[in-house]
Symmetry: C2
Subunit: 404 residues, 2 copies
Amino acid sequence: MVLKGNAVFAQSGGPTAVINSSICGAIQEAAKHSQITGMYGSINGILGVLNENMIDLNKESKRTIELLKQTPSSLLGSSRQKLKEEDYGKILKVLEAHNIRYFFIAGGNDSMDTANKMFEISKKLNYEMMVMGLPKTVDNDLPVTDHCPGYGSVSRWLAQSVRDAGLDTEAIYTSDTIKVIETMGRNAGWITASTVLAKQKENDAPHIILLPEVPFNQDKFLAAVDKVYKKLGYVVITCCEGLKDEKGEYLTSSKRSIDTDKFGHKQLGGVGESLVSMIAEGLKIKARCDKPGTIQRVSGVMQSKLDVEEAYQSGAKAVEHAVNGKSGLMVTLIRESNKPYKCVTGLTELSNIANKERKIPAEFIAADGMGVTEKFIDYVLPLIGGPLQEYARLEKNFISKILK
Amino acid sequence: MVLKGNAVFAQSGGPTAVINSSICGAIQEAAKHSQITGMYGSINGILGVLNENMIDLNKESKRTIELLKQTPSSLLGSSRQKLKEEDYGKILKVLEAHNIRYFFIAGGNDSMDTANKMFEISKKLNYEMMVMGLPKTVDNDLPVTDHCPGYGSVSRWLAQSVRDAGLDTEAIYTSDTIKVIETMGRNAGWITASTVLAKQKENDAPHIILLPEVPFNQDKFLAAVDKVYKKLGYVVITCCEGLKDEKGEYLTSSKRSIDTDKFGHKQLGGVGESLVSMIAEGLKIKARCDKPGTIQRVSGVMQSKLDVEEAYQSGAKAVEHAVNGKSGLMVTLIRESNKPYKCVTGLTELSNIANKERKIPAEFIAADGMGVTEKFIDYVLPLIGGPLQEYARLEKNFISKILK
């Protein structure tokens, strides 16, 4: 039996460089299927459905929809709203009133929890609707899927920017000696780990990579900084915002209650500045911190082409499966081979994703806990979608000194 | 009389996206002139000459020299070293020993002071040498010249990144409501002001631009934030690292003596986080801060094509003038017309630049002190070298609500 009705598309959680590419794939695929009669965009994630704030995507031009591919952030608006139990009933009423039979949501672990609840309640109330999840998160911390759309692009941005900032420190080390670059990632170090791709030669930045999977030890850290400093005269460190000490406490967490989000996550930040102070006090060396913050996750210019393509495909596949009667599932990415890189899509139950975090496995973390392995580089390299801009590197043939 | 001998090239002060382009222009021009017999690169600014650490640029491949154009940071290494009086005598000895008759230095106001002293001491000691300055600074705070190579690229980077980060806040405002983006610029607001180019429509980010030329007033600031917040539901603020209060004190300056550089400048930073706390306390609204730091000034990917070209030309012109017997001068940029943009090079005495700072004139600052004028936009727009990446913007035709 063919389920006929309107489709709604929602974006949820933190924006990425390619979450609009996912929605573009979904919209363009949906346009091919006569079961899908109207296409609505839910404004601000699930809140749009809850409050009947939905736009008619068929009234957007084809050109606008096509341009979504190269447009970062979440153009439908996002939310991190944790719904109350009674909200789901209200949502079902809205869906029914608008004859919405296809529900697509692009998001991370929290969003898949919302999607899963929507799936379960619609089943319970016998409202026939296909609910499909589109994977999305720069943090790359969803289980089951090989990687998440959004991650390749933030990795590309960081690989390039850490390379640039590393060249900057290499140039100016006689006055600015140590640089700490704080990345996103919360409790998972995937984003921070990707900064390894800035390196072309052994001595290139980053010299130390601090992942939240490894308990932070101040003495070991300062010893490692000192070692690089004595060898090169400068040090570039990348660290995750969510670093924890050996007691499992965040290295820096805000004390203001206003900084806890609606899922109870603390807003993190300030780890980089903490390390700067630690270095100044412990080693008496001046350091500075770059904290690109949200800029890293939504760069249109630094989209990974592969990431755009995979995001698009995951959106298209979600629709294809839904019109074939699939529901309660999220599209996954399955890497079939690495050299050459080949990836196909799969499916997993939303409940396998909801509220779960995948951290970096031990095999990807260097033995000293302050870097990553070759195996990780093999994993992440294809995801940034091709080489970075070519730079000159000088051979530096020194002329003979004449004076003493 | 033709002065024949070796040339030395040095880079000084903070790196930029195009200081290597300037050196590329100088090297490629020097290669055309038989008066210049050898070409040396001084490693780490003036320190390279002082310590006889110089490389043979003729031993670098042509391809490497060509690639300098698209390579950010200062590949010869930079320094912020303040020379002592006795150092100049030593430098002269090194120059003489290596028969260096042409001295080119790319840098800002501090570096032109160094260049000027080199020029004066060589005259005083009757050592015949042409000393020429190549303008360079992301801060755009050199007098005389219309603008400085490096500024167009940092402006392009910020225009794009603030647009991206603005779309991010626009998407996620139901949980992340206010964003502060801290830029470089020290005592001059040119960099911060350029963030206005992120705007395409009136309500786009940035909504408030805080320049160091305008004394900061907390009450006025919070009132302005509140006004935008009540209108849009979110606010994006860009601020300069060097904001000062009405007493002329830096809003945030580090207390650590280690953070003062060799010219006595305090290392600034933390203004963004101060504003975040101010907003949390004063308005009880959660804010976050992005502080891209050095990443903004050295992006190879976001080089302004115009900036690359002008940097290259300023390098080439410095050499051309030197071989024609000019010395003690810095190349300037003179804007002949704005629509269409047309710019030529000029010359000014090094002493006109040394240690001077040019701030944003009043005509470029909005009446309320929290933005810029159309006149400033006319000034800065051509410098970013062409339009930014095209993004989709949704028309957002809302569907009719059915439920109450």
